[in-house]
């Protein structure tokens, strides 16, 4: 147990710090890289939680595709590289307050409800095969729907971004 706690601590520290840094940095490319760090840390956390396929998908899709997409977007929108624009809006205190409030409420209710519940660690371990079994049996319809959704998104993105 101790090892898991240590790893959790390190990983969550990385994630939190990266996230915070991401929303405060002036450099947008740095922000993208910080996001990569967050995503990677989260992938590691998934492994910690014995959700190997999710971790894999996270790395592949999120970091590999989504972040690349983001970088393409940054490039195409000619975001000034380096510390050029003021990145944070004028009303950031309000946003901070709202975020803090929201976070506070959620944390409070979590602490209130779950208190000191321990994570079940001796439950069944589901590996990729179990996940795929589940997807293609119980959740086959959502799976197909998501594929249609992806198709729609694909087509939509193309339509939107066409030049003519």
């Amino acid at each position: 147990m101790v090892a898991q706690n240590i790893f959790f601590g390190i990983l969550s520290a990385i994630v939190i710090l990266s996230a915070l840094r991401m929303v405060t940095t002036r450099n947008i490319v740095h922000a993208a890289l910080y996001l990569v760090a967050v995503l990677a840390g989260l992938g590691a956390l998934y492994v910690l939680l014995t959700a190997e396929f999710v971790a894999t998908t996270q790395v592949l899709v999120y970091i590999g595709a989504v972040m690349v997409l983001f970088l393409f977007g940054i490039m195409l929108t000619k975001a000034p590289l380096g510390n050029a624009m003021e990145m944070t809006g004028k009303q950031w205190p309000i946003a901070a307050g709202v975020a803090a409030l929201l976070g506070g409420v959620i944390v409070y209710s979590l602490v209130n409800h779950f208190g000191s519940d321990r994570l079940v660690t001796d439950g069944p371990i589901y590996r990729t095969a179990d996940v795929s079994d589940e997807v293609f049996s119980t959740y086959i319809v959502p799976f197909e729907a998501v594929s249609v959704l992806l198709l729609a998104a694909l087509i939509g993105a193309i339509v939107l971004a066409r030049k003519d």
Binding site: M22, A51, I74, L76, L119, V135
Partner: protein
């Protein structure tokens, strides 16, 4: 390990993501903050799946990832269009609905 560790981590990530959505000026930044929020949700899903001993948590996390990807695609397309029309992706410049 406490259950709450993961959940509070998720809550914190969510809060940070909210802050990013509300406070960042660059449109792409806003989208990235939305990704942050979605990841916070993912953590929650997986943790609860483990807690309750079902596999649905992981399945839903997968679906979320897929949807997030689609959403980013379309979102960036829109940001691109915005940039094409207005030459700026500063969200503070888009106040046509003002009044």
């Amino acid at each position: 390990m406490l259950l709450n560790q993961f959940l509070i981590l998720g809550a914190a990530l969510f809060a940070v993501g909210v802050y990013g959505v509300l406070a960042r000026r660059n449109g792409v930044m806003v989208l990235m903050s939305i990704e942050l929020m979605l990841n916070a949700v993912n953590i929650n899903l997986v943790v609860f799946g483990v807690q309750h001993g079902v596999v649905s948590g992981q399945v839903f996390a997968l679906f979320v990832i897929a949807v997030a990807a689609a959403e980013v695609g379309v979102g960036l397309a829109i940001v691109l269009l915005l940039y094409r029309n207005r030459t700026s992706i500063d969200v503070e410049d888009f106040d046509l609905m003002r009044g």
